[in-house]
Symmetry: C3
Subunit: 207 residues, 3 copies
């Protein structure tokens, strides 16, 4: 579709697909938790899954990634439908949390890599990872009228920032995108997993 796909490679493509699927699930689960209708559930699945990446593509001047094909939206609609029809006990709050952690680090790594691939500067490329990873969830929370994950002391945006920064730094250091991407995604996920299991959090401003 464009000449930028080469450096991204299969590892990062898988990270992107993983992010789409799990964020669609978290969006749909946020809507069923609020006892919404199927249409709203599908809407939340789509917005949560593609919100961050859409904004990233607009910022870096890339064609929006889900516009030229049916596949991305169909994945989101399938995830939303799965949440709607499957027994509720399949989806615990805990599952939501861990799916979100996978999506967060996959998307952060992929977003930073795509930013680099489009030739943007390193600090904005790190920002692209954070935007890709966090914006979908922020939009989901604002639309659902929930306090945003942003406002919680838990290590969340920080894990996305770690994956993004590692991706950019390792790529600048000369590592192939695939290896840099694997390390970056796993490191961010490790940090987020620790935060979920051990309630790691950052100190809040207290003056």
């Amino acid at each position: 579709m464009n000449d930028h796909a080469s450096a991204i490679g299969p590892v990062l493509t898988v990270l992107n697909l993983a992010g789409i699927a799990v964020f669609a699930l978290t969006g749909a689960l946020a809507a069923t938790a609020k006892k919404q209708t199927l249409v709203t559930v599908l809407f939340f699945a789509v917005v949560t899954a593609v919100g961050g990446g859409t904004f990233r593509d607009l910022l870096i001047g890339a064609p929006v990634f889900w516009i030229q094909e049916n596949a991305t939206l169909l994945i989101c609609l399938a995830a939303g439908t799965a949440v709607w029809v499957a027994p509720a006990r399949w989806w615990s709050e805990r599952a939501l949390l861990w799916l979100d952690a996978i999506g967060l680090c996959a998307y952060a790594t992929y977003g930073a890599a795509k930013g680099l691939d489009y030739g943007i500067a390193p600090i904005p490329a790190i920002g692209m990872g954070v935007v890709t990873a966090c914006l979908g969830g922020i939009i989901r929370d604002v639309l659902a009228g929930e306090p945003s994950i942003l406002m919680r002391p838990e290590l969340y945006v920080t894990a996305a920032a770690l994956s993004s920064a590692l991706m950019v730094l390792l790529a600048i250091a000369g590592l192939p995108f695939a290896i840099a991407g694997l390390i970056a995604a796993l490191a961010g996920f490790g940090l987020r997993a620790g935060a979920i299991r051990n309630r790691w959090s950052l100190p809040a401003y207290d003056r």
Copy 2:
């Protein structure tokens, strides 16, 4: 302005203008209902009227439709001023509801048609109709601190989705844009009208 205007034609252009005018009125009425100032009323008129279409144009890579001309914003400002100066009894909550229904289906149909006209895939084109129709109202509700129409069981997004899907399916089936657009807009409006009059709603998730 671009070479995409041919397939859209006069029927869809009228649907677009109808959407602009009535959504500007609903935005302004939402602000006067909250006892706001004239400047805020005008701001809400503009944001509600152009919000969805602006996002659609960014997504499909079209030049933003109101940027190269004064007319669109002047229509919005006129609608906002009309709401401000006219006697309050002219505008009932009921009027707001029906104006919104007209704008919803006009915008959904036009948005899907414009997406097709820019060569995007069918499922995203349906999505463009829903975005064009619903986003302005969602932004209006979030800014006003109201619970979004999204979260209500009423058939609303569904009516937009019906207009959008019909526009895309009939156009793919080979109907001229003008006829497909008329059928799509009327079908969506019929569904929304039924929902308003008979309180049709979708079942909510109940597990």
Copy 3:
């Protein structure tokens, strides 16, 4: 980076940098007021500082201003860090208000000038000033769960509209961008300063 930089000139460039720095401070201060973590403080600094200008650039089809360089984000991160480490007594609510007033009129003037520079129509160019000036603050308020400045009767959006409209009118009248920009920024700031000191406000809708 593009051939549009000529008419903007040093006066407007300074207005843009002033807007970035002071809006980053107000974003960071909004986050520390809510006892947030350093990561959230930095996130708010960035979003508040670049939100309006980012949207302006997307609307007028300009490359997003902070994507090709590290400097803008580093200014935001420095401002956020300064708020985090400096003694709280350095930052009063009053300081926040006045910084915001400077940023508001600087950004409104710069945004309108950049719109003109990209050849958009006069009314949308005025809109670009208002968007550049107000959107960052609106996003900050929505994310923080605060009632938006939009909904207050105080002269705020009006001051941005005054700066934007003067910039466009004086430029159309033939004044050099630098002089038009100075007059426009000072006039808007004068109005906003009067509103802060004397609680000037617009009448609210009361029917």
